[in-house]
Symmetry: C4
Subunit: 208 residues, 4 copies
């Protein structure tokens, strides 16, 4: 068995390809739930305008799913870029991570449908916690098993770990606010997410 472990799951490229595939399908599948308004129900420009307006909230949820998945795609990518090769343990942690990715559209839709329910918020937060925990575990595993590139600067490892810990602390704090009010809690979590998505664009804005 240990011999097989030496030869299995060593390709970072294929792990990345499988991940990109799962992310791409998870990001895109929801389009099936986005139906165009029924032709019979629309008799004027105003009807169509209202019908499209009614789709708006759902569109906002899907945009939020894109942002959530984008954050963790970036996070996973930052790790994989520094790996010289993979091994079976790491492959399995990433397959578990992909399972959590697969859950994201579900938990996002759940939260959007039940904004006043603490259970929905808890489920959403547990999903994010699972994603963060598995990403952290995968990095600990990669460093512990000497799978990272030899020329990686020492501070990279600290940056990756600190990043996950800070983000997860903010998410946990946001989720805790649901004891006060779920809306406050949702706004906080969304702000944390937008911070991670939009923040890096600010320096570019200054440059241009």
């Amino acid at each position: 068995m240990s011999l097989y472990n030496q030869i299995a799951g060593r390709s970072v490229e294929r792990l990345a390809a499988l991940s990109d595939g799962v992310f791409a399908v998870a990001m895109t599948l929801l389009v099936l739930d986005l139906h165009t308004p029924a032709v019979e129900a629309v008799h004027s420009e105003r009807d169509l305008w209202l019908a499209l307006g009614a789709i708006g909230p759902r569109l906002a949820i899907y945009a939020m799913t894109f942002v959530t998945l984008g954050i963790f795609w970036n996070g996973q990518q930052a790790q994989l870029n520094h790996l010289a090769h993979s091994d079976r343990s790491l492959s399995w942690i990433h397959i578990a991570f992909l399972f959590a990715v697969w859950l994201t559209p579900f938990s996002t839709t759940l939260l959007a449908g039940f904004t006043t329910y603490r259970v929905a918020l808890l489920a959403y937060w547990l999903n994010i916690l699972l994603l963060g925990t598995l990403l952290y575990a995968s990095w600990v595993c990669a460093v512990g098993s000497h799978l990272v590139n030899q020329d990686m600067p020492a501070h990279v490892s600290t940056a990756i770990k600190r990043r996950i810990l800070i983000a997860q602390s903010l998410y946990a704090a946001g989720a805790l606010l649901c004891l006060v009010n779920t809306y406050v809690s949702i706004v906080c979590i969304v702000l944390v997410q937008l911070n991670y998505a939009i923040a890096p664009r600010l320096p570019w804005r200054r440059k241009v």
Copy 2:
């Protein structure tokens, strides 16, 4: 945070892989809406012929979605090919671009279902405008952050930017024609698209 930005989102290959995945799923998913005629409703060759004829318009819409997505896949690819590496800002602009890609099947189907409605035309044009704007922004970001290959000829950057500006001007002009008549407007936009798809094949025809 700035340290993390240095190590995150640097792989052009993975950005390209995620994009190809989203494009492939967006292009292919609509097949689920393309049902074969019900066996019970068909009793002669002529019935089947008519049933297939009834599917024709929908097939034309999907072909148009393929053309639209093909144009922007080519446009994005032209940029990514010239990048030495990516960064987090650029990754996020491309994730936003993929969100607009994801909207394309929806807005195309909307336009096809409501050909006489200006709102549908507006929505379709806004989708194309969003795609163009994000592609332009991604190139400005790539050049401004010195992410392009050092050996890229100077005129490439101009060509990529001019290309987007001209195409978007033509689309905007076509969309404006809806003040006259939505059919005129649709025909104009489709002609612009076909021009971008088929035009490059003309020199080849001459060669062969």
Copy 3:
């Protein structure tokens, strides 16, 4: 415009990645139509056995779709492997090819549902003809535009073209037999397909 053509659509890798994505989704999507038997309708081992037997023909159709798509995936791959780079014309021919790929599950399901109808057979054959024609056109374009690897032996080009012509002649002959009887025609086409899929395994069998 000609300048943009020089910089657009040059990556064979990304064309291959998009193609693999479309093939993978087209191959896999049909699983959504394959429902497990309803728990309420099954009360004994025999019921389940019969229910699974009823799914059998559908499974055979999907297997046939896999074979059809596998044949053309192999055909496209044989071409792409010999390209040094791509250009915009070639990209667009391949996008049209992917549209025909996308039609394959539809035309296969149609033929399976209407085995006695010449129209269904005609539609299926037109799909295969379209795939073959576009593959042939893409190779003519690639050779005509000097996109193939310089070290490609001269006989490769002849082999690729002859292969498509012979296969398409066999398919056309098989389709023509529908003037006699559609079943004869289907059996012929399936035999041609199985020949292309299984034949290359025969030499291996001899080796083992």
Copy 4:
């Protein structure tokens, strides 16, 4: 024909890309069956809690599908990593393998819906047997046709083949236990699967 065989299906990268695509879609598609609870049916936190609890078993099935697909993705990857190039025979064995991959979500759902039926267990086991047989055949073909890397140590081939044989023996023994009781049989098979998925993580746990 033999000339065409020399030039077709030679790219391991594209075979891997197609496989990753099929695995990614097969892993992700099931999310469409995972509906959030209906807003009308939920009136309290407790209702939502119960509704989510009712989704639990289905989630467990999907997790099991992820594990099954993960095991065979790892198995296929271990082989592809050692190939110098592919050929048409090998491509077709892998396309057949992907067909069996495509069946996995179906047979897993079937087993989960009919846990007390031997027919369901038989179908599930046949799926696993098919996957194992095709993986074994693909390796025999790769070694027999001298497609493996020249620098591959001799013991790798033995390890890959022994691995499949041992795993399949355990699965077959587990399936045979259905003569006693299907539950015993399912527990055995799941334990074998978890062993292959979690076992390699144990050494890592010791390291950390």
